[in-house]
């Protein structure tokens, strides 16, 4: 029979773990809500940008723009977006698994761009070359983080040092669901607009205009992905911590049962001792 004191100690320890996991769950829920709000706020910008880009693409030749030009993918940069922290279920490991699959099938030369501390920690001691990493910024995520990643890849792409840029991240489906998706950032796949603004003046001219809008598009895509990934991370953490809290409650119930059984057994033993002793005396 387990020692009463030991069981009591375990109950206390599981209870304090449960307090932590339930606090983490609530923090994650609050952060997720904020991240979701930011996603919604970013939408009007995307909408207008798409519209103008589509119009411009219709009237210009895509081969004129360095960011639209397609080349054979000899050198690829793979941006992998993980979180800065763990304790969020399969959020980070799903990304790493997907990256591994990608590296296996990739023919050309691939360099990694880890975004988030977990992904970087995983790859920095491995043989895959790392182009540049961006870590520990999700707590105060700002648009400038997206632009610094964006200008780095745009720069290398226009200097023909990269032929393709892909990104792997967790898409925010709902609070309880994240899907790993792979997208191509560069070259940009542009949807030509259908609606025409006739006799529109382009200043300085359509090609220059498109050239200055395409980087905005890349930066915006990265921003959206960072926001989605952050919201997804918080959602995953919320789910994981909720499960942990439930498990802790289950463990506490079980331990309490054992504790009471042990206590009852001890009392029964004591009583039968006393009864046995008393009988021995009266005889």
């Amino acid at each position: 029979m387990a020692n009463l004191k030991q069981i009591r100690k375990r109950i206390t320890s599981v209870t304090s773990t449960q307090q932590i996991t339930s606090a983490m769950k609530m923090v994650a829920a609050a952060k997720m809500r904020r991240a979701q709000e930011n996603i919604v706020k970013a939408r009007p910008y995307a909408f207008r940008l798409q519209e103008v880009m589509g119009d411009l693409a219709r009237i210009t030749d895509p081969q004129l723009h360095p960011l639209l030009a397609r080349r054979d993918p000899h050198r690829t940069a793979l941006v992998m977006v993980t979180g800065d922290r763990g304790l969020c279920g399969g959020f980070n490991s799903n990304i790493i698994r997907q990256v591994e699959i990608h590296l296996k099938v990739e023919q050309g030369e691939t360099q990694l761009v880890p975004v988030g501390r977990i992904g970087h920690d995983w790859y920095r001691r491995r043989t895959v070359p790392i182009l540049k990493q961006y870590t520990s910024f999700f707590n105060d995520l700002a648009f400038t983080h997206a632009t610094s990643i964006g200008s780095m890849i745009i720069d290398l792409y226009t200097r023909l040092e990269l032929d393709r840029v892909e990104i792997i991240y967790n898409e925010f489906k709902s609070a309880v669901r994240q899907d790993v998706v792979v997208e191509t950032l560069l070259p940009i796949d542009i949807e030509q607009g259908t609606q025409s603004h006739n006799e529109c003046i382009y200043e300085p001219d359509a090609v220059t205009l498109l050239n200055s809008i395409l980087p905005l598009h890349i930066n915006y895509q990265l921003w959206r992905i960072l926001l989605e990934s952050y919201a997804a991370e918080q959602g995953a953490r919320m789910t994981a911590m909720e499960a942990a809290t439930d498990n802790a409650a289950e463990m506490i119930a079980e331990l309490t049962l054992h504790y009471n059984q042990a206590r009852q057994a001890a009392i029964t033993t004591e009583i039968s001792d006393i009864v046995g002793g008393a009988e021995a005396i009266s005889n």
Partner: protein, 136 residues
């Protein structure tokens, strides 16, 4: 025939819609210099550079610091897209000064892998924000 003298304007950034409302006049930093847009302007899409954006509304003048982007004028409305748009009274001057110093140092140090264009742009942005904040 009555002419309309104001038009709807929307200032949009990736962090949200910064301004929306009816205005009489907008002054924007175009690629070749500042230009104004009044009601009934011809359809136009133009590149903007980092600079000062002035908006005249019925309630008075509003000034923003913007970092490039573009403006789209259609018969129905005017939309201005920029990666940042800060109202003049909410510019964080110490932060702008810091960014300015950083950019200057980087340009002065002239390291081998320095991205001169990017540093220049950062410098221009910081200067712009400080100028607008101090009403120069």
């Amino acid at each position: 025939m009555s002419e309309q003298h104001d038009f709807p304007l929307e200032i949009v950034t990736p962090s949200g819609v910064i301004f929306t409302g009816r205005v009489h006049h907008v002054m924007v930093p175009g690629a070749d210099g500042y230009f104004g847009v009044l009601a009934n302007h011809a359809p136009l899409t133009a590149v903007l550079q980092t600079g000062k954006l002035t908006v005249d509304t019925a309630a008075g003048e509003k000034v923003f610091a913007i970092s490039g982007g573009f403006i789209e004028v259609t018969p129905e409305r005017v939309a201005l897209l920029s990666e940042t748009a800060e109202p003049e009274n909410s510019i964080d001057i110490p932060r702008a000064e810091e960014a300015l110093k950083r950019a200057q140092e980087r340009l002065a140090a002239g390291e081998a892998d320095l991205d001169v264009d990017r540093s220049r742009l950062a410098l221009a942005r910081a200067l712009n924000r400080m100028r607008i904040a101090s009403h120069e």
